[in-house]
């Protein structure tokens, strides 16, 4: 009975140097990531110490007055809530549309249309986020305001959709819809890739049993792609959480808790940083760095979960 022999690789000196250099190069991403977290935390530490838990739960972001009569107080609570609200609106809108888009490209379009749509999808994923801001304010907002108005007049009794000022532009709702358009390419292309890996023979056996196209999709494709789509959705969510300029241009930035998504006030952490950065005192700058640290942790967590989900699915099935 032949035994499996133990493999023993001896690298030459040249190889060992080569492998060291390559490893060092590959480790830069890890080091950079660690440094980002470390520096933002270290520079923001003073704020964390001064504000304590109120940094997350408080309600105010004021630099205080010059003569020291009013104390500086920094809390990202409202902005954190705003970040989450806007991102979830984006995700809720973008996810079904992206799934429909991915299914359409993969199962409903002809070869030529499919190629065209995939190119369009790649290009859409590369649209700079500032364009979404421009487009959201100048092109899309009139339409979105009409939708907001309709939503408010028919669903206004529900607190989420109430709006006492009856001004509908520049609201978290509009910003969320624009972010939905922004993250849809990511979710669509990841979903499409996952769906395209569905084993052909499973789909074909569905047809062979007399199933319709929808039958095959529902019975085979959707369950097969579920976790991959979930990962894609989380990657999209991560991008929406950290978006700056599109939100900055569209939202009317107000530093207060606002749960009425149709009202023209809101904000997110990233746009807080961009807004306050220019006129910040040294102390407030530390506050912004602390806010950046929280944002970094938030997006990194979401992204790591998303990555592990996506990588697990692609390893299992390919």
């Amino acid at each position: 009975m032949p035994q499996k022999r133990e493999m023993h690789v001896v690298y030459s000196l040249g190889d060992r140097i080569f492998r060291r250099i390559v490893t060092a190069g590959a480790l830069t991403s890890l080091i950079v990531l660690a440094l980002i977290g470390l520096f933002l935390f270290a520079r923001g530490a003073e704020i964390f110490r001064d504000m304590g838990f109120k940094f997350i739960t408080g309600v105010k972001w004021t630099a205080g007055s010059e003569d020291g009569t009013a104390a500086a107080e920094f809390s990202i609570g409202p902005m954190l809530v705003g970040t989450i609200i806007v991102s979830f609106i984006a995700l809720i809108v973008a996810l079904p549309l992206s799934i429909a888009g991915a299914l359409f490209i993969e199962f409903y379009s002809s070869q030529r249309l499919k190629r065209l749509l995939i190119s369009l999808l790649d290009l859409a994923a590369a649209i700079p986020s500032i364009f979404f801001g421009l487009w959201g304010i100048q092109v899309f907002s009139s339409m979105a305001e009409r939708w907001s108005y309709l939503l408010n007049s028919y669903m206004g009794w529900f607190p989420l959709f109430s709006n006492e000022m009856q001004v509908f532009g520049r609201s978290p709702f509009v910003a969320g819809l624009v972010l939905a358009a922004m993250i849809a390419p990511i979710i669509t292309s990841i979903s499409r890739e996952v769906y395209s890996r569905t084993p052909r023979e499973l789909v074909d056996s569905c047809y062979a049993l007399g199933g319709t196209r929808w039958g095959a999709i529902r019975a085979v494709v959707l369950p097969f792609g579920r976790s991959g789509v979930l990962g894609g959705a989380m990657l999209g969510l991560g991008r929406a959480l950290g978006e700056t300029v599109a939100v900055y241009l569209i939202l009317n930035l107000v530093f207060a808790y606002n749960f009425n998504i149709l009202e023209a006030q809101g904000g997110n952490i990233a746009s807080l940083i961009a807004t306050r950065f220019g006129e910040a005192t040294a102390y407030e700058l530390k506050g912004l760095l602390a806010a950046g640290f929280v944002l970094f942790l938030l997006t990194l967590t979401v992204n790591m979960i998303a990555t592990s989900v996506v990588q697990r699915t692609s390893k299992d099935r390919s």
């Binding site: 190889d15 250099i21 190069g25 991403s29 990531l33 429909a100 409903y108 859409a124 979404f132």
Partner: protein
């Protein structure tokens, strides 16, 4: 087999190809629905393209129900859901098409030959559109992106080589870290460079901008490099080892030269990823309105910051300039994609 004998070939029956007459007949219903919805939009309170789209969609669903009235539930569901999926896909694609369309429509006014060569030093944002230009911003963006590429490309290639050639103990972790790093918000990258570089050198600079862009660019370059290196056939490596080459020789002299154009693609995709980034530049490079070629001291212009600054002024002409700048940026991104695609195709062949 067609050249056996001289018998004329009978055209094979293709039951899956619909005759043209039938296709036309199938299109008649939707066309009618489209027309009826259009009339309703004209006459009633349903306004705008969104109202029309909604009516058209509901009309199509109605039509499908009418057509499948004699069929069973499964088939009816199938055709209804086809329409829902096509509708959802249209809705998903509509914003991007709308963006491309508005870029062209709103952007082309401000573009003339001098637009690419002039700066905004003596032109106020409110001047007529035949003055001033985006030249300084193009130069600034090009400088920053080039530096960022010079930093990222070697690191990206090393990461790719580690993941595909060296395959050390950390392979899985590094792949994971690179993927997670692609989710770092651009403003956080800007903040990081601000506290570690701008704050230390006491000035905004193009170099700081490049460093911030590098952080965002590295994951894209590394992942694309890994993808193209994976395409190298294992035979090539085996052949090189069989000739007695060490790993470093076979990696540097066989594997990497094979994918040279693929690595160029990686660099180009990285550039396309970061050239439109605005948020990190607010914190690192800022913007100025004149030409500047020195990235090592002081603020420098860039296309996204040019758009951002003009858009915030908010007057008619400054908006028009912002849209023109956006059109230029989109064309650049588009061209980068076309080049990347060409090179990518060459790799596969």
């Amino acid at each position: 087999m067609s050249n056996i004998g001289n018998e004329t070939l009978v055209a094979p029956i293709q039951p899956w190809v619909k005759p043209r007459a039938k296709t036309l007949k199938n299109l008649f219903g939707p066309a009618l629905v489209a027309l009826v919805s259009f009339v309703i939009v004209l006459l009633t309170g349903f306004a705008g393209p969104d109202g029309w789209a909604l009516l058209f969609f509901v009309g199509l669903l109605g039509l499908a129900i009418a057509r499948t009235r004699n069929q069973d539930r499964v088939k009816r569901n199938n055709s209804l859901i086809s329409i829902v999926i096509a509708g959802g896909a249209t809705l998903a694609f509509a914003p991007w098409l709308s963006i491309f369309y508005s870029l062209v429509i709103k952007g082309f006014h401000g573009i003339y030959l001098g637009y690419f060569f002039r700066d905004m030093r003596i032109t106020t944002p409110d001047d007529e559109l035949n003055m001033g230009g985006v030249g300084h911003a193009i130069i600034g963006s090009a400088i920053m992106v080039l530096i960022a590429t010079a930093i990222t490309l070697p690191l990206g290639i090393l990461s790719g080589v580690y993941l595909t050639e060296v395959r050390g103990r950390l392979t899985r972790m590094i792949r994971f870290v690179i993927q997670s790093m692609s989710g770092v918000p651009s403003i956080v990258a800007g903040l990081f460079i601000f506290t570690t570089f701008v704050d230390v050198t006491k000035q905004f600079s193009g170099l700081a901008g490049s460093l911030a862009l590098s952080i965002l660019m590295l994951p894209t370059v590394a992942r694309t490099a890994e993808e193209v290196l994976k395409l190298v056939p294992e035979d090539l490596r085996a052949a090189s080892y069989a000739l007695g080459a060490r790993q470093w020789r076979s990696s540097l002299m066989v594997v990497l030269p094979t994918v040279r154009s693929g690595l160029t693609t990686a660099a180009i995709l990285g550039v396309a990823r970061v050239i439109g980034e605005t948020a990190p530049l607010i914190l690192t490079a800022q913007s100025i309105s004149s030409f500047k070629f020195n990235p090592f001291s002081g603020q420098i212009a860039s296309i996204p910051m040019y758009i951002f600054a003009l858009f915030q002024i908010g007057t008619e002409y400054s908006m028009a300039r912002a849209w023109s700048g956006a059109l230029v940026l989109m064309v650049i991104v588009f061209l980068l994609f076309v080049v990347a695609r060409r090179l990518g195709n060459r790799v596969k062949r």
